[in-house]
Every structure is written in C-alpha cells, then in structure tokens.
C-alpha cells in the first residue's frame, strides 16, 4: 500500500513538473486570441473567376498562335464566357491534327462541333474547379509572403467557410489596418510594355486599335486621366523580378522602386531595350501606367520604377513586388480590429474577474469542507494547470469562448468534488468509519462523474467537428478540461485522502 502510494506520488509530481515546464513562462506559451490580444481579423473572398478569365484569354491567344503555326485555317476565336471559346470556321479537313493539339497541350479542354464549321472549345467543369482551387492556394501563398514581409508574428492564414474561395487572415498585435489591407489586397501585376502612342487625353485621339495593341489609362502630370497605346504583350512581368526595394532617385530626389531581374528575364530585357532605344517603355501596374520613361540605352538586369510615390508608398510597392502578384483580385467581406489597448483592457478585467471568482470559490470550499476542502482546492488547481498546460502544448488559442470553456470546467470540477464530499458525508452519517466512507463514497460517485463528463465530452466532440472558429475554441478547452476533471477528481483527490490517512492506524474523525 505504502509503496503504491509513493509511486503514485512520484508520478503526480512528474506530471506537475512537466506541466510547469510546458507552461512557463505563460506570456510566451499561451497564444491569446485576437479578442484578447488586439489585432486585425480579415475575411476576404478571392475572385477566382478572374483567374478563369485570364486562363480563357490566354488559351484563346495561344491556341490561335498554335493553329497559325500549324497553318490550320480558321476565321477567328471568340470568347463566349468563362472557359468558353468558339473557333469560327475551322478547317474541318485537319480536325485530326487539331484534336492532337488539344489532347497534347490543352488536356483540360473539350472540343465539340457547334455546327456550321464552328467549334466550341470549353474548359471542363472539373478542370475549372482545379483552377479555382489553385487560385485560392496561390493567393494564400502570396498573402503569406506579404504578411511575412510586414513582420507580423504568428499570423493565421487559412481558408474559411465552406464556399472554398474565402480566406481568413489574422494579424495578432498589428495595428495599422489600412496598410495591412492595402498590402494584402494589392494585385501587384507589374508589366513593362512598349509604348506605341500617347499619352492622349482621349482614347479617340490615339491611332485605331488592332489585336496586338491596347489602350491603358494613366494619370497625367496635370492630374487628368490620359491614355497610352501600348503593346498587348508585355516585355517583362512581375514574375521576372528577383528583388525590389525602395530607393531615392538621385536626379529628382524623389522616392522610387529599384528592381532586379532573374537571369532569364534580364536577357529578354536587354534584347527588348536594345532594340527600342529612344522609344518609351510603359511601366504598367495593375492596369495603370505609372510612368513611361524613355529607354536611353540597353538595360541589363536592373531597373527602376519612377512615379508619383511617397516614401511609404514606394516601400509598400517594393514589398508587394517582392512577394509576387495575386492571381486574382480580393474582396473584403468581414473585418475586425481590436485596438491593442482595448484588447488589453478587456483581458485585464476578464482576468481580474476570473481570478476573483476562482478565489471566492476556493475560499468557500476550504471554509465549508475544512481540511478535505484543501484537497479539493489542490485538485481544482491541478485541473487548471493541466488545462493551461495542454493548451500551451497544442498551441491552442485562448479566446473569450475558450474562457467560457474554462469556466464550465471549473464548474464541473467543483461539482465533482462536492459530489464526492457530500457522498462521503452521507456515508459517514450512516455510521461508516471514515476510511470505509471515503472508499464507498468514491466508488458510488464514480459513474455519476464519468457519465456527466462523458455527456459533455460527446457534445464537445460534435461542436468541434461541425462548429466554426470560436465554437471550436470552446470545444477544445472544454474537452481538455473534462478529461482532466475526471482525472483530478477521481484519482488525485483520492490519492490525497489515502496519503493523509495512510500514516494513521485508526481514523476516528474526518475533517470534512
């Protein structure tokens, strides 16, 4: 008996030591939710249709090029909608070759006769889903890189909801909402294109368009909107960038963004600039010409983007260019900011109140149950320590609903101890000696406590499985609390009784 008690004691001490090690120091180990810590919570929708549209346009262009290369006749390729193209007047005699091209280069597309020599060329629905999913994943990766550049510690970036195109971003402790949103949302599509004409105040003043040209708006030095006519095909895009940083232009003393290119982009850039010395190159950012410098001489792997930037704008532009472009535009759907001082205020009152409540409960238990009450206090405190330790170990986030879970755990922990003590008292009133009363009391309430906690555990499991963020947070703390509750009430509390009584031969009275 004594040996078993000693063994149990050692195991318990090991457990406590382990928990203290995991939790210590609590400031670093406990992850506080945004509602407690302050920070920014953003839910956004990715316009995945953007990516499908780009794919459709690219396919139309590249497929036409491919047919031209193979010298297969067709009148035109028209875009009917997202992932839907029509090839007008395709030369039917070479259908086999066309099918081979499709099978080899566009396996996700279906070619079907639309009658009258026209053929519809459609993206398969299953393939479209893949494209959309990839777009969301890419957008998340890009956002993650940008957030990392912002220097936010432990950001949360995950998909959200069940529509598949929502992204949740949480930036704990970050305050500047406007900047965070700007940086996350910036599409950052950078393109360098050759200027053919412009700028003009009116599109009508520019030469007529053809399929290889495009008019892109710009802001003229006067502040009015003007247009440049530029090549549709970009010489260099954001994908060719190796790095970008904010710098100061020595001549004008204004902020700009310097960039450098990958080897492959650099050689293309050299050819492009070499062939067009003396002409204007438009720097197009998100479908807007920010500047159109004249190419003075061939440029290799370095360049700079000048425009009407402030230093902050240039810094942020360099940041998003480094992190890469978003594959589709974003739309914010939900936004929560908790100012850090508000978060601190609410956590201070919350913690004060919780501690006051806990102290009241513990004091009453000691007052009411005397020495046995100490026993319950130890069990309850250990229960809390296990709860906090498990949360630190699993890196769970503590939010207000999580605190609700903690409160329910305390409530049920108190209940377990009260049940045990009242049962022991009841047994003693029937004349049983303390040792027997304790033993009978514990065994009688065992199933009560197990049933009560199991019922809640079943509910918590369901809540975790089917609930959303805050509901899940509640379920996690509750589950951990319930398991540790049964353990502390049935095992630890019993152990302390046994330990205290083990030294004495005859136990006449129990302080309960």
């Amino acid at each position: 008996m004594a040996r078993r008690l000693r063994l149990k004691g050692v195991l318990l001490l090991l457990l406590v030591a382990g928990l203290v090690y995991v939790v210590n120091p609590p400031r670093d180990t406990l992850v506080l939710g945004l509602d407690l810590q302050g920070g920014i919570h953003l839910v956004m929708r990715v316009h995945t249709e953007d990516a499908v549209r780009v794919l459709t346009d690219e396919t139309a262009e590249q497929f036409a090029e491919h047919l031209d290369n193979e010298e297969i006749d067709f009148a035109d390729i028209e875009t009917e909608g997202l992932g839907q193209l029509t090839i007008l007047n395709l030369d039917d005699s070479r259908l086999r070759e066309v099918r081979d091209i499709v099978a080899f280069s566009w396996p996700g597309w279906d070619l079907r006769s639309a009658g009258g020599g026209d053929w519809s060329f459609n993206l398969r629905p299953s393939e479209e889903i893949v494209v959309r999913e990839q777009t969301v994943t890419q957008a998340m990766e890009t956002i993650r890189r940008r957030v990392d550049e912002l220097g936010v510690a432990e950001p949360v970036i995950t998909t959200h909801g069940n529509t598949g195109d929502q992204i949740l971003v949480q930036l704990p402790g970050y305050e500047d909402v406007a900047r965070a949103k700007e940086i996350i949302q910036a599409t950052a599509q950078l393109e360098l294109r050759l200027v053919q004409a412009g700028p003009a105040l009116d599109e009508a003043a520019l030469p007529p368009l053809n399929s290889s040209l495009e008019n892109i708006p710009t802001e003229l030095p006067t502040g009015a909107v003007g247009y440049y006519q530029v090549n549709r095909v970009a010489a260099i895009t954001g994908r060719d960038l190796r790095n970008a940083r904010q710098a100061i232009d020595f001549q004008t003393n204004t902020p700009n963004v310097e960039f450098s290119l990958h080897a492959e982009g650099a050689s293309r850039f050299r050819d492009f600039t070499g062939a067009n010395v003396g002409r204007q190159m438009a720097i197009v950012l998100d479908d807007l010409v920010v500047s159109a410098p004249v190419i003075q001489s061939p440029i290799y792997d370095q360049g700079q983007i000048t425009g009407n930037f402030t230093v902050d704008e240039a810094v942020d532009l360099a940041l998003v260019l480094r992190a890469g472009a978003l594959p589709a535009s974003l739309e914010y759907q939900e936004e929560r900011t908790v100012g850090p001082s508000l978060g601190a205020d609410s956590i201070r009152s919350g913690v004060t109140a919780s501690l006051a409540g806990l102290a009241g409960v513990l004091l009453f238990i000691i007052f009411y149950y005397r020495l046995s009450g100490m026993n319950a206090v130890v069990a309850l405190l250990l229960n809390l320590l296990i709860l906090v330790g498990a949360m630190a170990y699993f890196a769970a986030t503590l939010t207000l609903p999580g605190i609700a879970g903690v409160i329910l755990t305390i409530g049920m922990g108190v209940d377990a101890n009260v049940l045990i003590f009242e049962r022991i008292k009841e047994e003693m009133r029937t004349g049983k000696p303390p040792r027997t009363a304790i033993s009978v009391g514990f065994s009688r309430v065992f199933w009560t406590i197990v049933d009560a906690n199991m019922t809640s555990l079943v509910a918590a499991a369901i809540l975790f499985q089917f609930g959303t963020g805050p509901v899940q947070g509640f379920a996690v703390t509750l589950s951990i609390g319930l398991v540790s509750n049964v353990f502390t009430a049935m095992f630890v509390s019993r152990y302390i009784f046994d330990l205290v009584l083990s030294g004495r031969r005859q136990v006449a009275a129990l302080s309960i």
């Binding site: 009152s349 109140a353 609903p401 029937t430 009560t448 009560a452």
Partner: protein
C-alpha cells in the same frame, strides 16, 4: 459543517407550478421578441459596422452623435461602452444606413470597400470635435459571413444535443435522455427569453455561453438521474415518484453547493468582467439558475410523466405515498 438538513420536500407535487412559471417566462419572452421585431443579434451576425472609440478624456455622447450625424448616419446607435472611466464610445451603423450614404444611385457601393463607413467615422472623430481619440476597434461584417456563422453554430448545437440524447439514452434509459434533452431545450429557450427581456445582444461569445449552459444543465440533470438509477435498485418497493423525490432531496445539498459556487465564479465575471464580457456572463449566470431549476422542475417530472403515460402504473407521488421514507440507508 452542513447547509440544509435532510429535506423532505415533495418536489413532484409542485410540477404544474414549475411548468406554469417556465411557461410564463417563455410567453413574456415571446411577446418581448415580437415587440422588438426579433432577437437582437450582435454585429458578428448581422451586416454592418461597429466602431469602438477610446478617447483621452471622457467624451460627450452628444458630441460624438453630432459628428456621426454630420456624416449622414443619423440612425447610428451611439452609447457609452464599458466602465465610464475608460472613456469609450460605441458607434454602430446598420447596413441599411450605410447604403443610404453610399453615394449616388448607379454607383457601385461595394467598390468603395466595406470599411468605408468605419474609415469615415474614424477620420471624422480624429478631427477632435469630441475629444482626442486614443485608440479604436472596428468590426465590419459583410452579408455572407453573418448568415453562415449563424447557420453553422445552430447546426452544431442541434447535433450536439442529439448526441447527448443518444448517450444518456444509452447509459440510462431512453426516457431519461428525453427528459434531459427537453430540460436543456427548456433552458435555452427560457434563457433566450431572458436575454431578450434584459436587452442583451446575441454575439458569437454569447453562443459559446449558451453551449456552456447546455453542458452545465445536462451535468446537473445527470447527477439527479444517476441518484434515481441507484435508488431504484435500493428501494425496489417504492414507486418512481417517491424515488424521484427522494433522489432530488438527497442530492439537494450538492445541487445548492455546486450551483452556488459556480454562480460565484460567473457572478464575478458579470460584475467585474467589463463590457466585452457582459452579455456573455449574463447568459452564464442565467444559465446556472435555469439549468439547476430545470433538472428538478422539468427533467424529473418529464421522466415521471412519460412513465405514467407509457408504463401503466399510476405512479404519481401525491396519490400513493405523500412522504418519502427516511433518507437513511
């Protein structure tokens, strides 16, 4: 030391009184909800913008209102937030009011960004007409999100209730599962009625409090049911009504102690927890009361009533055995 001696209250006798009390609160709640055009949902469940602004010195609500009204949000709810010495004001603008000021018709309001309202209010407040702005928090919820959250929270809770019904039915008898579940539903409805009567808003945190209530209520009910299960083996000759009375009385001390202690914990939260926790801790306090009450007043009578309807024995306590035998075993 003991509170309460051995009680021999015939709880079952009062079951219609209990049903009447519960019904009265529920009816009052229903009328209140109708009068107020539905339950009040927090900003996380409805579309719109909420700004909490913290000032350097105590702001005049009227000054803040003047600033916000100038922006065109005359229908905004503006009130002092949390303890007065924290100098905080909450400004809440519903989606409909946002649309009115979203510019000329034909423009696309979504293009302005969902944060336009919050930005305009904060920019105006930074002007200093209502005092120096120290810090702020905003919540903006778009259309899809609120609906989705509400749906998932509701479905998860219903499923969890069903799972508990199954577990209790399996561990005890099906009728006990029914009794506990009806009691829990009773608790949720009565607390909802109280939430409406006391003008609290339902936010995500309040939903968590409701789930806590469910857990607490079931725990409380199971303790009594467990005693009933045990007493049925010990007192085979007693009818069920007497056994239920005996079990409630035997566990009464524990019920009072546990509920009292849990109330100490959640009461502290309600008193000192601050505005953020107010509605949350109100539901917890109400839930502990209602959950404790329902175990005795709703869950147990339902088990008894079900038995008398299905079981054939006309077992109601006052008919056969008005007094339970002495508690001593």
């Amino acid at each position: 030391m003991d509170i309460l001696g051995d009680t021999r209250i015939n709880w079952i006798k009062y079951r219609w009184w209990f049903a009447g009390i519960s019904l009265a609160v529920l009816i009052a709640g229903v009328f209140d909800v109708i009068r107020k055009d539905g339950l009040r949902y927090g900003i996380d469940f409805s579309e719109g913008t909420m700004v909490v602004a913290k000032f350097a010195e105590a702001p005049e609500i009227d000054d803040v209102r003047a600033v916000v009204t100038d922006l065109g949000y005359g229908s905004a709810v503006i009130q002092s937030y949390d303890r007065p010495e924290m100098n905080q004001v909450m400004i809440r603008v519903e989606k409909a009011a946002e649309d009115e000021t979203a510019g000329a018709p034909g423009q696309q309001p979504t293009q302005a960004g969902i944060d336009e309202t919050a930005n305009r209010i904060l920019a105006a407040l930074r002007g200093g007409a209502a005092g120096e702005l120290v810090s702020s928090s905003t919540e903006i919820v778009g259309p899809v999100v609120g609906e989705e959250l509400r749906r998932r929270a509701r479905n998860a809770t219903l499923l969890a209730l069903f799972a508990m019904l199954i577990y209790i039915g399996f561990r005890f008898e099906p009728v006990y599962g029914v009794g506990a579940t009806v009691a829990v539903i009773h608790d949720v409805l009565v607390t909802l009625a109280l939430v409406s009567l006391f003008n609290y808003e339902i936010s995500l945190n309040v939903i968590a409090a409701f789930m806590t209530l469910v857990g607490y209520s079931v725990n409380d009910t199971i303790v009594i049911f467990d005693r009933v299960r045990e007493n049925r083996h010990i007192h085979r000759r007693l009818d069920l009504g007497a056994i239920v009375n005996l079990s409630i009385n035997q566990t009464l001390r524990r019920t009072v102690l546990t509920s009292g202690l849990t109330l100490v914990a959640v009461g502290a939260l309600l008193t000192w927890g601050g505005e953020v926790l107010r509605a949350f801790s109100f539901v917890l306090v109400a839930g502990v009361f209602v959950g404790t009450y329902s175990s005795i007043a709703i869950a147990s009578p339902i088990v008894l009533w079900w038995r008398s309807v299905r079981g054939g024995t006309s077992a109601t306590a006052e008919q056969q055995r008005p007094q339970a035998p002495p508690v001593r075993v």
